[in-house]
Amino acid sequence: MTTPERIQDPDTSSAGAPTPSAIASSLVLQNLGISFGSKQVLRDVNLDVQPGQFVALVGPSGAGKSTLLRLVNGSHRPTNGTVSVLGVNPSTCGRRNLQRLRTRVGFVFQQFGLVGRLSAMENVLMGTLGSLRMPRYGISTYPKTLREKAVANLERVGLLDQRFQRCDTLSGGQQQRVAIARTLMQDAEIVLADEPVASLDPSASLAVLNTLKRLSAEDGFTVICSLHQVDLALQVSDRVVAVRNGSLILDTRTSDTSEEALRAIYEEAKGTRS
C-alpha cells in the first residue's frame, strides 16, 4: 500500500495454492499485522502455503521477513489478524499446544541461537528435546539413536570433525551449519529458515538448500526460507513471496518470475527502505 506500482501480478497472487479446498494448508496467514510500540512492522499479510511447498521469502533488509517467520512460529503475537500453522493458531492455542506445535515446526534462526559454551554436538542434540519427555544435560544423557542421528546430521552439514568443538570457537559459517543441523534433528513438518545460508559459501549454501528441498519433496514437508540471494531463491524454490516495508508485494510461482523481476524489488526498495 505504500508502493504505488505493485509488482504483484493479480493472476499469480495465489499461484502457489493450487486448490485451496483439496488439502489442508500448512500455513494460513490472514490480515496479519504487528507493531512494536508505535512502529508498524508488518501489515495486512495474507498467505496460504500448501504442504510440500518450498517458499522463498525475499525482500530488502528490514522488510519484516524475520518478524513474519517469528509470527508463524508463535514467538511474537500478532497485533492484527490470525496465523494458522498446521491448523493451529499459535497465539491462542495455549502453552502446551504451542509446545507440541513447535516440535512440528523447525526454525533456523538468523542469529543461530547456540549455547556458546557447549559443543556443536550438544547443541544439535537439543533439537530433539521436543520429542523427549525429560530434560537432558550432557551428551551422554541423550539416547544412543539420537546421538547417532546427531552425528549423521553434523556430517551432512560437513561438521563431523567439529562435533565436540565449543560453539563459540566455530567460524561463522560453521555456527550457522550447527543451527541447521539442530533443526534437521526435529524431523519437522514445516521448516522456517531465516537466511539459513547467509554465512555459507556458494556450494555449501546450495547443498543445504538442496537438502531442504529434497526433504520437502520426499517427505512432503513445507519450507519457508528467507533468502537474500536471488539466484538461490530461483534455483530451489517453488514459490517466491516478497515483502517490502511490511507488506506482501509479490507472491508468485517461481517459474513465473525471473532474476530481473526479483532484483527490481530491491532496486525499488532503495527509495522506501526504512
Binding site: 512502529k39 514467538s75 549455547v115 537439543m126 528435546l129 525429560m134 530434560p135 565449543r166 520426499e218
Partner: protein
C-alpha cells in the same frame, strides 16, 4: 570430509562414515584427529568437584552440628511464645524512627557510592580481561579480597581513630568493606560478558579506558545497578556497626531494642527497615526495566526521539525520566557525602592515631582456639550454604521468567525475600534458641536463612541477565520449559552459579558472628571478643585466618570460572 555435502544429495538418511576416504592424499592426518573438536569433552572437574565437595562437607556438618529436624517441631510452643512478645509492634514516635532511618540511609548511600566508584576501577583491573601490568591486577585482587575478608567492625575502630566519632568513620567503614563485595561481583560480571563488542571497539583503536567505558561498563550497567542497590540494602541492614563510631542510626536502635529485650519495639524498627528495603527493591526493579541488557517484549526499542537536528537526540518522556533518575542518583550521592561531615582539622593527628592502633595488632597471635573457630565457622558456612543454595535456587528459578511466567508469584517471592532479609540474623537466632536451646543447630538454622536470602538474590540476578537468544531457539524446537531451562539456561548459568555459591559461603563465613549469639562459637564470636577485650594481637591472628580462607575460596572460584566460562 569427503563429499559429505554431496552425500546427502545421494543418500540423505543414512550417514556412511565409511565412505569418507580422504580425497586429499597429501593430508596424512585423518580429518577425525583435528584436536579441539574431535575430543569428546570431559565433564570439568569444577562442575563436578565443587558440588561434591559441598556435599561432603555438608554430610560432615550435619553430623557435627547434630541436626535433628524433629527438635524444631518440638520447640514450636517456645517460638510462638517468643513471637507473641513481638506483637503488636511499637515504633514510638514514627518521625523519630524515620529520622534514624534517613540518617542511616545517608551514611549507607555515601558508603555504598564511594565503594562503587572505587570498585569500578578495582574490578576493571582485577578482571581477567585486564591487559595491563600483572602487578596492578594482583594488587586490585588483593584489595578486593582483604576488604571483603576484614569485617567492617575492624575498619570502624580504625577509622574512628583517624576521623573521630561520627558518620564519616562509619561511612568509610561501610565503604571499604563494601568494596570487597561490589568489586568482586563487578569483576565477575565483566568476565562473563561476550568478548565481541570489546574486540570490535579495540579494533577502532580505542584506548583501554575508552573501550571499558563504551562496551564493558555500558553492558554491565544493568547488573551493576542491581548489585549496588543490593549492597545498599545490605549496608542499611548492617548499620549496627555505626554504633561503634558514635554515628547512631536505625541499626543501633534495633540492636539496643533487642539487647533490652524490647521486642515489640524491635519489630517496629524491623518493619521500618523492611519498608525501606522494599523501596530499594522497587527502585532496583524499575531501573532493571529501564536499562535491561537484553531486549524482551517490554523493552523500549526507540531509545530517543528525533531532535531538532538529525544528529541530536530529542527529549521525550522516557529520556527525561532516565536523565532525571540519573541526576537524582548523583544528587543523592553528593548530598549524602555532605552528611558525612568531614573534619579536616582532625586529619593532622590521624596518622599517629592510626599507627598507634595498628601497632597493637603486631605481632599477630594464633591460638588453637582460633583454628578451631575458623574450622567451626567454615563447616557451618558450607553446610548452611548448601541448604541456602538449594532453597535459594528454587526461589530464584520461581521468581524469574524461565520456568514460571506468573508475574504475581515472582513479585510475591521478591517481597518475601526482602522481608526475610529485613529481619536481622539475631532475631532468627533468638527464635531458634527458644526452640532448640543454645548450640550450633540454632546458629546453623539462622545462618541458612541468611544464605538463602543471599543465594536467591545472586541467582535471580544472574538468571535474569542470561542471553535469551539460545533460549528462544530451544523453545522454537518445541522443548518444554524445564528442558529449555536445563539445556539452555543452566549451561549459561553454571559459571555464576558456582562462583556465587562459593561467594555465599564466603559471606556466610563473616556472618557467622551469629553463631556467637547462640553459643556455637565460631570465628565471629572470637573476633568480637578479642576486639571488645582489646586483644588486638589475637584479632590480627583471626583476620589473617579469615583472609587465608577467603583467598582459598576465591582461588577455587577463579579456577572454576576459568574452567567453565
Amino acid at each position: 570430509m569427503s563429499g559429505t555435502t554431496r552425500q546427502i544429495v545421494e543418500d540423505p538418511r543414512t550417514p556412511r562414515p565409511g565412505s569418507r576416504e580422504p580425497r586429499d592424499g597429501q593430508r596424512p592426518s585423518a580429518p577425525r584427529t583435528s584436536p579441539p573438536g574431535s575430543k569428546r569433552p570431559r565433564v570439568s572437574a569444577a562442575t563436578l568437584g565443587i558440588p561434591l565437595a559441598y556435599l561432603a562437607v555438608t554430610v560432615f556438618g550435619v553430623w557435627w552440628i547434630d541436626i535433628r529436624p524433629a527438635a524444631v517441631a518440638a520447640g514450636f510452643g517456645d517460638i510462638a511464645r517468643l513471637l507473641e512478645r513481638m506483637v503488636p509492634p511499637t515504633t514510638g514516635p514514627v518521625s523519630d524512627l524515620l529520622t534514624l532511618a534517613l540518617e542511616t540511609l545517608w551514611i549507607a548511600i555515601a558508603g555504598t557510592g564511594l565503594a562503587t566508584i572505587a570498585s569500578v576501577f578495582l574490578a576493571a583491573a582485577a578482571s581477567r580481561h585486564f591487559t595491563g601490568p600483572k602487578l596492578v591486577r594482583w594488587l586490585a585482587q588483593g584489595i578486593i579480597i582483604v576488604t571483603r575478608a576484614v569485617p567492617s567492625l575492624i575498619f570502624a575502630i580504625l577509622f574512628v581513630r583517624i576521623f573521630g566519632l561520627g558518620p564519616l568513620a562509619g561511612g568509610l567503614a561501610i565503604a571499604v568493606h563494601s568494596i570487597g563485595m561490589i568489586g568482586k561481583m563487578m569483576a565477575d560480571v565483566f568476565e562473563e560478558q561476550s568478548p565481541s563488542p570489546r574486540e570490535a571497539i579495540a579494533s577502532v583503536g580505542a584506548s583501554r579506558l575508552q573501550n571499558f567505558v563504551s562496551t564493558t561498563l555500558t553492558r554491565a550497567l544493568p547488573a551493576v545497578t542491581s548489585l549496588v542497590i543490593y549492597r545498599l540494602d545490605i549496608n542499611v541492614r548492617a548499620s549496627a556497626v555505626l554504633g561503634l563510631v558514635g554515628a547512631g542510626g536505625i541499626g543501633v536502635a534495633l540492636q539496643t531494642a533487642i539487647g533490652s529485650l524490647n521486642y515489640r519495639r524491635a519489630a517496629g524498627i524491623i518493619l521500618v527497615i523492611v519498608a525501606l528495603l522494599l523501596i530499594l527493591e522497587l527502585v532496583a526493579y524499575l531501573v532493571q526495566r529501564a536499562v535491561a541488557e537484553h531486549a524482551d517484549e517490554h523493552t523500549q526499542s526507540q531509545l530517543h526521539v528525533a531532535g531538532s537536528t538529525p544528529a541530536a537526540p530529542g527529549w521525550n518522556r522516557s529520556r527525561v525520566l532516565r536523565s532525571a533518575a540519573a541526576a537524582s542518583a548523583v544528587i543523592l550521592f553528593l548530598y549524602s557525602l555532605s552528611q558525612l561531615s568531614l573534619n579536616l582539622s582532625r586529619l593532622g593527628q590521624a596518622w599517629n592515631n592510626a599507627l598507634a592502633l595498628l601497632s597493637g595488632f603486631v605481632p599477630p597471635v594464633f591460638t588453637e582456639e582460633i583454628l578451631l573457630g575458623i574450622f567451626e565457622s567454615v563447616i557451618m558456612a558450607f553446610t548452611a550454604t548448601f541448604f541456602g543454595v538449594l532453597v535459594g535456587l528454587v526461589i530464584a528459578v520461581l521468581s524469574t521468567r524461565h520456568l514460571v511466567r506468573f508475574e504475581p508469584l515472582s513479585l510475591a517471592l521478591r517481597g518475601i525475600v526482602v522481608f526475610m532479609r529485613g529481619i536481622p540474623d539475631i532475631v532468627y537466632a533468638l527464635i531458634f534458641v527458644a526452640a532448640l536451646g543454645l548450640g550450633p543447630f540454632a546458629g546453623f538454622l539462622a545462618l541458612s536463612i541468611s544464605c538463602t536470602a543471599l543465594a536467591s538474590k545472586f541467582f535471580t540476578d544472574s538468571l535474569q541477565n542470561i542471553d535469551p537468544a539460545p533460549l528462544r531457539a530451544l523453545e522454537a524446537t518445541g522443548a518444554g520449559r524445564i528442558q529449555v531451562f536445563v539445556s539452555g539456561v543452566w549451561p549459561q548459568f553454571v559459571p555464576s552459579f558456582i562462583g556465587n555459591s562459593l561467594f555465599t559461603s564466603d559471606l556466610a563465613l563473616r556472618e557467622s558472628a551469629v553463631l556467637g549469639i547462640v553459643g556455637a562459637g565460631g570465628i565471629g564470636f572470637l573476633l568480637d571478643e578479642s576486639v571488645a577485650t582489646l586483644h588486638y594481637q589475637q584479632t590480627a591472628g583471626i583476620l589473617i585466618g579469615l583472609i587465608v580462607v577467603v583467598v582459598a575460596l576465591e582461588s577455587v572460584a577463579r579456577w572454576a570460572r576459568r574452567k567453565v566460562i
